[in-house]
């Protein structure tokens, strides 16, 4: 049991990936909601953080989530051209491309961080996306590389 995550215990083999999902209110969050009311099953591993727009997402949210011990991060917004605020996701697209590339460059596993566009009508697609993401993170195991460990400071 580590102090930072509170429930990771690999020796018992019951580790479940913990994914932080930043979903834009108008499209992706609504899509997730649709999956819910449609009773579509999707993995419970996701902790959703609702934001007004994917453009509001500070790339530091992603690294902060990894530092806090999340095993994976998903960021999802409206399809380009459909942003509720017209262009928020279009600015975000550039930021996300750069941040993903930079993290992979320094050796963070590519499957730790995921981006997608999911519309309010895509309940099924949202569930499928989550399956994909959770399994991808499960495959690479618990995140350890950027986890903050003050207790380990000598």
């Amino acid at each position: 049991m580590t102090e930072t995550t509170g429930h990771r215990d690999d020796e018992r083999g019951d580790w479940e990936p913990r994914i932080a999902a930043f979903l834009c209110n108008w499209c992706s969050y609504a899509g997730a909601d649709l999956a819910g009311v449609s009773r579509i099953q999707y993995p419970p591993n996701v902790r959703v953080i609702r934001v007004p727009c994917s453009g509001r997402i500070n790339p530091l949210f992603i690294v902060k989530a990894l530092q806090s011990g999340m095993d994976g991060v998903l960021v999802s917004g409206c399809h380009p051209g459909d942003c509720h605020y017209i262009s928020g996701n279009l600015y975000a697209r550039r930021k996300f491309a750069l941040m993903k590339s930079l993290l992979e460059y320094v050796g963070i596993e590519p499957d730790r961080v995921h981006f997608s566009w999911v519309s309010a009508a895509e309940g099924v697609r949202f569930a499928e996306l989550l399956h994909t993401v959770v399994e991808a993170v499960r495959e690479i195991g618990p995140a350890t590389k950027m986890v903050k460990r003050i207790e380990a400071v000598p």
Binding site: L60, R94, K95, L102
Partner: protein, 331 residues
Amino acid sequence: MSEVEDRLRQRVTELLDDGTVDLFIGYAEADAPLKTAVHVVRSTTDADALVWDARCAANLAALLPDLFRRPENAGNEWAPPRVGILAKGCVSRSIVGLIKAHQIPRDALHVVGVGCRGVVDRHHAARLVAPAQLAEAEFLEGDRLRLRATDGTERDVDLADVLLEGCLVCRHPNAVLSDESIGDPVPTSDRPRFADVESFAERPIDERWAAFREEVSRCIRCYACREACPNCYCTECFAEETAPRWIGVTTEPSDLMLFHLGRAFHQAGRCVDCGACVSACPQGIDLRLLTRKVNRDVEALFGGEVGVSLDRPEPLQQFEMTDDEGFLTEP
């Protein structure tokens, strides 16, 4: 004293005398090997201290935003000073960036452009004499440098072998924006621009992680890199914000990693690769490991070069409908 230095001192004296500038920012001698001091000339008697050579590592544009920031208790009579500045290529590109970011007014600046043949990497020189220290450095004919160490040893090196890595691939040694120039233009490098990024990217993931972690582990959070950088003009840096608190003030490894990832990312589309951060770092950390990657991605994905056009908006302040989506996950 070189011709360029002579001309520089003369021009600065004239600019102060005729009232074109209230102050001029350049470099002066410092009493430590391979160092120069940032020199703010306010009276003509101080102009003679100006120097210009391969020790001039600081990006002088870093001093500009504060000069134009209205002081807290300033009354209506406060007007921004007229500032003269010696600008090698990268400094002028930083100036372009600062103008676009509305941090400095173009019309209060008088930029004296100068061609730069590169800056000596003081850490590289230190490594050559380690564990002794550098006692003296002397420029020799034929672009050579004589290094005298505290253990009495002496070695002559080619300048090209000890320049900052960024200088070796520099495409803008001459000012891109200036009100006048001194000295002759310097030819640009034709070396491949991003060979370092490409070769690092080819290494296995575990090696890259180990290299990154090791590189930033030496950081002491002194923020010399940040303060030396003209782009870091924020009055409150994410690294020191407490609400929200992005990272701690500690040297715990993930705090160090997030600081450097965050700072490099914040440079996206703005870093001119002047190397002032590398020179400033007391630990000799290869900060360009990260900024170069971001620079390359910005160019590859969004096109354009940093700091050459006053009209083109910064890459992260614009978008194209055709922007790359290769980073997406499809269900």
